[in-house]
Every structure is written in structure tokens, then in C-alpha cells.
């Protein structure tokens, strides 16, 4: 499903170079990329729960998943790995994730200007039509921009 654009942004190549960092610590997995979207997954891990009794994942790891997928969606649309910074993220939690389930985050960059990229996305734990959370966010393009 992975289709790398002719413009040259290859998430797999970028990720292969990352031996440490937050994505590695959380165990974020690259799933797929398109011209203006990217999908990552996070496997269930008891260290990431908000409450040992319920076993529900904390919202922080979902935010990390969605921020990562969002950043990669912007790079996909820019067609390159270039400096950018998250400006804001809003996550609406529609329901708790089910303990033990892998969570998938798919984020689309639906608008790119010279300075700002706008993203939206959904997190789900198996059925994209029954999402856990919705994301809206923006990223600032740094350096020479778009």
C-alpha cells in the first residue's frame, strides 16, 4: 500500500535513520502514505494507560500518534522532509479505545499555504467508521517554506 511520490519524500527511509526518540520509545509504526496523507499505528502497551484498573490508553499517546501522522502528512504533501513545527492540535475523544487493541491514526493535509499546513484526521482501533478520536491541527513551515 506504501506508495512513495516521485517528489521524493519516503517515510520508510526517514524512519530507518531514527534509532531513538519518542516515536521509537512509544513503538509507533509507519503503516502507509499517500500524496497528502499518512497513517501510523500504536500497539497496545500497558505502560501507556491512564488507569491500571481500566487499562484504557491515556490521551497523550493518542496525541503523539496523531501529531506524528500529521507531521508526516504535511511532509508527504510538501514532497520533502523539511523543517516544520506544530502550531496547534485539537483532539476530540469520541470514545475510549478498547484495551489490548492497536490504534491506527490517519491524518490528511487538506490545505498547504506558504507558511501553514492544515490537517485533519481520525484515530480508530479497527473500524475507521467507529473512530476513537478526531484531530484538527496546524503546522508552521519553517526555513524556505512550502
Amino acid at each position: 500500500m506504501r506508495n512513495v511520490m516521485a517528489s521524493g519524500f519516503d517515510p520508510a527511509e526517514l524512519l530507518a535513520a531514527a534509532k531513538a526518540g519518542h516515536m521509537v520509545a512509544l513503538g509507533l509504526r509507519f503503516v502507509a502514505v499517500g500524496p497528502d496523507w499518512c497513517e501510523f499505528a500504536i500497539d497496545y502497551d500497558r505502560r501507556l494507560v491512564s488507569d491500571a484498573a481500566t487499562g484504557i490508553l491515556a490521551s497523550g499517546p493518542i496525541m503523539s500518534l496523531m501529531d506524528t501522522a500529521g507531521g508526516f502528512a504535511v511532509w508527504a504533501r510538501r514532497g520533502k522532509f523539511a523543517a516544520q513545527a506544530t502550531l496547534d492540535l485539537r483532539l476530540d475523544y469520541l470514545r475510549p479505545s478498547r484495551p489490548g487493541q492497536t490504534v491506527i491514526g490517519r491524518v490528511e493535509c487538506y490545505r498547504l499555504t506558504h507558511r501553514i499546513a492544515f490537517v485533519r484526521g481520525v484515530a480508530h482501533d479497527g473500524d475507521p467508521d467507529h473512530p476513537i478520536a478526531h484531530l484538527a491541527g496546524t503546522y508552521m513551515l519553517l526555513g524556505d517554506g512550502k
Binding site: 526517514l14 531514527a18 531513538a20 526518540g21 519518542h22 516515536m23 521509537v24 520509545a25 512509544l26 500497558r46 505502560r47 501507556l48 494507560v49 491512564s50 488507569d51 491500571a52 484498573a53 481500566t54 490508553l57 491515556a58 490521551s59 497523550g60 499517546p61 496525541m63 503523539s64 500518534l65 496523531m66 501529531d67 506524528t68 507531521g71 522532509f81 523543517a83 513545527a85 506544530t86 502550531l87 496547534d88 492540535l89 485539537r90 483532539l91 476530540d92 475523544y93 475510549p96
Partner: protein, 135 residues
């Protein structure tokens, strides 16, 4: 202020309580390589995680002894603004509980590094209040 217990996810991030600020728990997330993004800055998700934990710790501190906030408060919406890049250094966070109502709690929370007046990120969280089982 009653003592607060942090979430398992807080241990994962290395977060601990560093003291108190304006009557709410002051949290610190010590720097580690595992918090960095691919650009060598603190990952926005890790900063968001710290903000979430500070928010829940602040609510926790307002509760009566014996009430478990982790099964009582669940995030509905979380909005995070990133003001400055997170440098590879310790991060502090402290929340202000704006209101705890019957159904929803509203919390404002801020994170900084060397200077509390120069926030690197701030969040607003609205959390659902679910009565503990049996009440």
C-alpha cells in the same frame, strides 16, 4: 492540597511531582532521548502528555481523600497550542482548574522550560466527570 498519584503513562514519560505552584502540583518531565522528535526537539505528543498529566494531577489535588480521579475524569476535548520549540532539556507544567461542575471539569495548563513566563505550550482540557461506581 491532598497527595496526588500519577498515571502509569506518567511513569513511562519519567514525570514526577517537583513541588507546588499557585496551589496546584508542579510537575517536571526530565529530559531524555526518548522524548525527541525527528528534528531534535521535544515531540509535541510528549509535551501534550505532560500537559494532560498536569491537568489530571491538579484536579486530583482538589478531590477529597479516597476519591480516585482516574476513573472519574476522562478527556472530552484537548486543545494544545505550541508557542516555542521544546529544547532538549527538562520541562515543567502546572495546571489551573478553572471549574469543576456536575458533569464537566475545565482545566487550563501551561508548560515551560527555563522561564515560567515563557511558555513552550499551553492547553485547555474539558473532561467528563463520571460518578465513581456505587455512588
Amino acid at each position: 492540597m491532598t497527595p496526588v498519584a500519577l498515571l502509569p503513562y506518567a511513569d513511562f514519560l519519567g514525570i514526577r511531582i517537583a513541588g507546588e505552584r499557585h496551589g496546584a502540583p508542579l510537575l517536571v518531565m526530565p529530559f531524555s532521548e526518548g522524548l525527541l522528535n525527528l528534528q531534535g526537539r521535544l515531540h509535541g505528543g510528549a509535551i501534550s502528555g505532560l500537559l494532560e498529566i498536569a491537568a489530571i494531577a491538579a484536579i486530583d489535588a482538589t478531590l477529597e481523600e479516597g476519591e480516585d480521579p482516574r476513573s472519574v475524569f476522562k478527556p472530552i476535548t484537548v486543545t494544545v497550542d505550541f508557542m516555542r520549540p521544546g529544547q532538549p532539556a527538562d520541562v515543567y507544567a502546572c495546571a489551573q482548574v478553572v471549574r469543576v461542575g456536575g458533569r464537566v471539569a475545565n482545566v487550563a495548563v501551561c508548560a515551560w522550560q527555563d522561564d515560567p513566563d515563557r511558555a513552550i505550550a499551553a492547553a485547555r482540557m474539558n473532561l467528563a466527570i463520571t460518578p465513581p461506581a456505587g455512588k
